[in-house]
Amino acid sequence: MAKRTSQLGIDTADVRRARTLARQVGKPIVDLATQHTTVSVERATLRLAGLGGADPDGTPWVNRLADAVRADVGLEHGVSLPVWDALLRGEADDLLTLAQKAAAGSVTFRIPEGRDATRATSASRKAVGAGIKQIDRQRASREKMIAKIGDAPSKPWIYLIVATGDIMEDIPQAQAAAREGADVIAVIRSTGQSLLDFVPEGATREGFAGTYATQENFRLMRAALDETSRELGRYVRLTNYASGLCMPEIAALAGLERLDMMLNDSMYGILFRDINPIRTFVDQRFSRQVHARAGIIINTGEDNYLTTADAIEAAHTVTTSQLLNEYFAKEAGLEDWQLGLGHAFEIDPEVPDSFRLELAHAMLARELFPDAPLKWMPPTRHMTGDIFKGYLLDGFFNLVGALTGQGILLVGMMTEAVVTPWISDRDLALQNVRYVMNAAGKLHEDFRPAPDGFIANRAREVLGEAVALLEEIKDDRTVKGQPPLLSAIADGTFGLMKRPPHKGRGLDGVARKASDYYNPATEILEAK
């Protein structure tokens, strides 16, 4: 690797300091995560062991079984030992039958001890190991397909969204988008799915402003894009969203069905969906361990900060969050190439020098995370319905993307905030991207910001503010014995929202692990 020198005059000691602080802030959270489990972590484990489907009311069997176990013996031991103990005792021949019987109340669970515990441990490890092997196979088949039919031709990868609510309608739209040039297809989820404490089942044909993330929808879309990938001679990646109350389960399903990217932010659920902080951090860690194993690229959600806070004043919160997301991701086993750290072009275009500020922020992200793909999000906040002005703004967004070597470029639509993209909107948006990449894609070879110019100074200023914020978080001793980051989140440090650790959705699904807690999935995922 060539030695990198900073174009922005950033002192490597400052970068080290920032990472050290992120680790100091993040470590107590990781400790907290390892001390707890959640209903969704346990259900994800059952899913890896092959339990799927739902009862006639649509409640997934993993929920029915986990709830039954919890009612008998609590959550703190994990569900694996009680479940495989029941199977070994002959309560049922398989997981599905056991779930059905448990739902009917005809099974009593216990915590096995001695040899029973040993047998349950190895049986559960075998069953869950089969699911993880399936994830490994899917990863290998992705790599094989890419080697055989080819990868996206150039960077940044062009990322397009479909969102009809009906998977059967999404499929032809996604295939059309791929033919028009998309390298990555994201299926937007139905509004509010992140707050469901279960993963819906089956192929779904109605959603609110998006399509439900289900295992069957994942499978159908991936199969359709495989077909299109072969037709086009390049592997088209598929994205969905893990964030929410079911992060671990959706991560497991994504791995099993070979999704390629997942939205997975360490704090999004807490800040924007009022999900309990502890629940989020526990779920996040497990889900990222699964993504790491599956070779999935995560996309983090820093762009969301800028949709609520001012994009100039809050620029350093983006950097801070990227550093934290990086720490949590690497701790969970993800590698640099899997870190689609988010940022966005959201500065008010009326502000003087807005483009130079955007460029400074984007260059800072590029320098701080040289080996991460980075996910560059288009303007939304200042898209007013004036489609002509919006088209120009998207062009400037694309130019920043070209100049700073973004890995993943979400294509901006001039009709943002007007309609869901029309066929012509998408085509015009892609023409915009192509023109900029063709005309200026290599401009970064010539472009150097003046060493003490506006851009370099601004980038250093933002990094300085991010370091100061991390220091402030690290020193937050509001609640004794509580990880400072939790206190900071409770104080409203991020995105203006105050989220105390004992409040928020999904708290009742968190349990502190007992000393005999066992989870075969965690054991396998952490062994590597």
Partner: protein, 249 residues
């Protein structure tokens, strides 16, 4: 009388621009079809200035042309929103000015309805349709009770939080459950509060009819497509006495 027509670069030229896609391969026939559409829409002459294939079997057109229609602004009828639309900043300022404390909003889904998508779209900071939810407003204290809240629980929470406004979302409409639940809710509030003290009652959901507020005993009904800004503006308008600056747009 002040009749007008579109203006390109000369008074009275009637010039308009139009873009659209036709589901047809690009060809001379396709361009003719585009002219035909423009003609039928009243553009005459119509000039196809741009035609481009878009995906398989689609062509995108930009057409310029002249229309002969006259419009008479004096006969335009508009239905005005009966409250001004405020930005979050303006809403916060209005609350600060007239209440000198935060305005308390309690929300939830009542009955067996587990669909929090509506209430969350309005209350969660994430918001809806590009607008931030009510949690984003500094001067609003938002208490979101979530799903399957019973009417007595809702009244209790409203009392405890000293709610100024109560928001109820109803998505499930089997056997008119949304209407029955709403009537039960408004009756409970009338019973629990003296008329002058009762919080503002607002219901919303995709199957409600906006004109039914009186019949349901609530102060306002919002229906499909309502954004957080509209709800916040309405609440602020009804609960703060100070006139607000920005007019409905």
């Amino acid at each position: 009388m002040n009749l007008i027509r579109p203006y390109g670069d000369t008074t009275g030229d009637g010039m308009v621009q139009l873009s659209f896609t036709l589901p047809i391969e690009h060809s001379k026939v396709a361009e003719g079809a585009a002219v035909q559409l423009a003609n039928k829409m009243g553009m005459d002459p119509a000039l196809v200035v741009h035609a481009k294939p878009m995906g398989e079997g689609f062509t995108f057109f930009v057409v310029y042309g002249r229309v002969n229609h006259l419009v008479d602004p004096s006969t335009v009828e508009v239905v005005e929103r009966d409250y001004p639309l405020l930005t979050p900043k303006e809403a916060n300022a209005a609350i600060k000015r007239s209440m000198r404390r935060r305005l308390v909003v309690v929300g939830g889904c009542i009955g067996t309805d587990a669909h929090t998508v509506g209430i969350d779209a309005i209350l969660n900071i994430k918001g809806f349709a590009g607008e931030k939810g009510l949690e984003y407003y500094r001067e609003l204290k938002v208490v979101n009770l979530g799903a399957q809240v019973s009417v007595p629980q809702l009244v209790e929470a409203a009392r405890e939080e000293k709610a100024d406004a109560v928001l109820v979302s109803q998505v499930v409409t089997q056997r008119d459950a949304h209407l029955l639940n709403t009537r039960e809710m408004s009756a409970a509030f009338r019973e629990a509060y003296p008329p002058a003290k009762r919080p503002l009652l607002v219901v919303g959901g995709p199957r409600f009819d906006e004109t039914m507020a009186g019949e349901l005993g609530v102060d306002r009904v919002f229906t499909r497509g309502t954004t957080p800004g509209e709800v916040a503006s309405f609440i602020v308008h009804r609960l703060t006495s100070t006139p607000t600056t920005k007019e409905a747009s």
